[in-house]
Amino acid sequence: MKFSGMRIRKRSKISKGEAVIVRLIAIVLALIVSGFIIVAITKLNPLQVYAGIIDGAIGTSRRVWVTIRDIIILLVVSVGLVPAFKMKFWNIGAEGQMLMGGLAASALMIYVGNSIPNGLLLLLIVIASCVAGMLWGIIPAFFKAKYNTNETLFTLMMNYVAMQFTTFCIVFWEKPKGSNTVGIINAASGAGWFPPFLGQKYGLNLLFGILVTVILALYLKHTKHGYELSVVGESPDTARYAGINVKRVIVRTVALSGAICGFAGSLIVSGGSHTISTSLTGGRGFTAIIVAWLAHFNSFIMAAVSALLVFMEKGAVQIASQFGLNHNVSSIITGIILFFLIGSEFFNNYEVVFDNSEAEEK
């Protein structure tokens, strides 16, 4: 009866430090639970499995850079989703926007790749991929603003349109005919590929990633546009009352969101794969939604969450080959970590308190 005094109440507020600690505890608990599951299923030493994951993600300098390259792509897409999400416009069309951006980049590399200087080509690729992604964002935004269509459904369906359009383009680019494989574009000349930056193959990816993240954080926090879109997100009626042109803000914000996702597409094509296929995005447009939400749209936390997810993904291949496990083991661990992280939000919003009577008896 003494323990019946436990109850749960809403926290008035939680300091940033405490919130971080709660999340760290969640990750540690998740790793402990995963450890038990690993032992139960595979009879392997979980510490060795974790060591394998770390080795796979950052074991050599090449692995570190590959991991960075993929973190940047996931981070940029997540950053791209934030303005739309803050406005409570549920853009789940990042997949399609990335694909359109990647498609624009590939088209430029294929058609004008070897006829203009590489610097100019890269500039065109960045602009074209942003415009392509922007277009894929503006279409559902326009219908939302004008006819109040459901943006979740609309952006989702636009993904499939982008995929079909990509398949259509591949028919002209594939080699050999019918194989559905474009192969590495401009393998000999490297036209349209990101050049090494500061001696690093993926240096430019890192630079672009940081730039986009910082600029967008500033845009949201310190500009009139950023303020307007958060007001529209809180209450469109209030925004209208305050004299904000809601329709214009919707179209403008989603255009920005799409442009950044489109840019992420060019990061994949010019900065990594140098090819185009319908599996270009690899589901990152959906993963980015989890990243953005988990981080509460905080840029630094988004970087951390992106890093965690990519880290686990890179570790997956390593533990699969090292221990003969299927790489789904890593998905299980990632799933458990996400479960605990999302679950820990409860402790950030509520606290467990013990009734006073129990303390008085002591």
């Binding site: 600690i21 760290l24 019918g178 599996s279 291949v317």
Partner: protein, 407 residues
């Protein structure tokens, strides 16, 4: 109260942090020593890049081949590094260079779209041998360390076709179908040479015993899409096809056939587990024949051929055991005869007297010039020399009797 519990929380958090820190630190140290240890001892190592994993027939067949290589050469587990689920993107290049930097002297990739990335890695590591299945660019690339290989699967497809043709004859004799209704369906992946060569050899096998047979080909535009393959097989059955075969990697087609009680011929793996009352046999490849051969060459420091394509003579292809529940009586004997004839060279699968294109013999079309002139290099001595010039299939003629539906 809250302050006290907060303090407790902090203590717990710090303890937890320190333990994880210690775990991670010791873990990464372990990894370091493992790696440096591996680099010191220059043991022979093979790296393998798979597009799928053991849940998918095509990659499963490759994994079996790698196991065979290990047992033939007596390689330990630590001498073979396998990376599964590597997509046909820069991930393949990442995997290839990672394997090379782990000290592999032979690196194998198993999917068509891996080829460009293997070439990219081959340029960077000239001392490492790169072997790519189903590709065609090794000879063109001029790189001495890039190689292509592909078993002559058209031979086992032809043999499987003979088994299917005997089943059709059986159905005609039973009165289930008439000779005019002998329409088969084929679930293909992509409309290019590898698939065209495959379905043509299957069809020619059928036709060699059941001359009235015709075939309809539908594509899924995917290598492994269970639902789509099942739907495509269902569509073919609905169009009146009385027997189904496939060149796609899942059990989608046999599942559809089992439900509709339609006989079928599979690919890669024995389909009797999912279609015990439908599957006759499957055309299959024994990748181990090449893996053991190539690994031995690299291990002994000998040159690996640029292109390699062997069939029944080297046990590189086979058909899975005939399912006597479905197959016609006497199938095994007839199939054995055909295999013997292929081995001895008496039977050429792409014998030019057995097929026509637009109603004409291929020799006449080549002589007439135009679009068909390019096939001149392949056709001589009365047959199409498939997979003899390069290891990748080259037969992409659309022959009479087969209707291809591209969607």
């Amino acid at each position: 109260m809250t302050k006290k519990s907060l303090k407790k929380l902090l203590v717990v958090a710090f303890v937890a942090l320190f333990t994880t820190g210690a775990i991670f630190a010791s873990g990464s140290q372990e990894a370091d020593t493992q790696e440096s240890g591996a680099q010191e001892a220059s043991v022979f190592k093979v790296g393998v890049i798979y597009v799928g994993d053991e849940n998918e027939g095509y990659t499963e067949a490759h994994m079996k081949g790698i196991e065979e290589m290990k047992s033939v050469l007596g390689l330990s587990d630590s001498q073979v590094i396998e990376k599964a689920n590597i997509p046909e993107s820069e991930a393949c290049y990442d995997a290839a260079v990672d394997l090379a930097s782990q000290g592999c002297s032979l690196i194998i990739a198993n999917s068509f779209g891996h080829e460009d990335y293997m070439l990219q890695a081959a340029k960077e590591y000239p001392e490492v041998q790169f072997c790519h299945a189903t590709g065609y660019q090794a000879g063109l690339s001029g790189l001495s360390n890039m190689h292509n290989f592909m078993p002559a699967v058209y031979q086992s497809r032809y043999v499987a076709g003979v088994a299917a043709g005997l089943k059709l004859n059986d159905m005609i004799a039973n009165g289930t179908i008439t000779a005019e209704d002998c329409k088969m369906g084929y679930v293909g992946a992509y409309p290019y040479a590898e698939v065209v060569s495959g379905y043509t050899s299957f069809y020619l096998g059928v036709k060699s015993v059941c001359p009235t047979a015709t075939m309809v080909v539908r594509y899924t535009n995917s290598w492994a899409d269970m639902t789509l393959e099942k739907e495509t097989a269902d569509a073919l059955i609905a169009e009146g096809c009385v027997l189904i075969s496939q060149h796609a990697d899942t059990t989608g087609a046999p599942t559809a056939c089992e439900a509709k009680n339609i006989p079928m011929v599979g690919y890669n793996v024995d389909m009797t587990t999912v279609a015990p009352n439908s599957a006759i046999t499957s055309a299959a490849l024994n990748w181990g024949a090449y893996y053991a051969y190539a690994a031995k060459l690299v291990k002994d420091g000998e040159t690996v051929p640029v292109d390699w394509s062997k069939g029944y003579t080297d046990d590189a292809v086979y058909i899975t055991p005939i399912n006597t529940n479905v197959a016609a009586a006497g199938t095994q004997e007839r199939v054995d005869e055909v295999i013997a004839a292929i081995k001895s060279g008496d039977l050429n699968v792409f014998n030019t007297s057995t097929f026509t294109v637009n109603g004409e013999k291929i020799e006449d079309l080549i002589a007439a010039g135009g679009d068909f002139e390019k096939y001149g290099q392949y056709v001589s001595d009365g047959y199409f020399h498939e997979q003899e010039i390069g290891s990748a299939p080259a037969f992409d003629l659309r022959i009479d009797g087969i209707t291809e539906l591209t969607n």
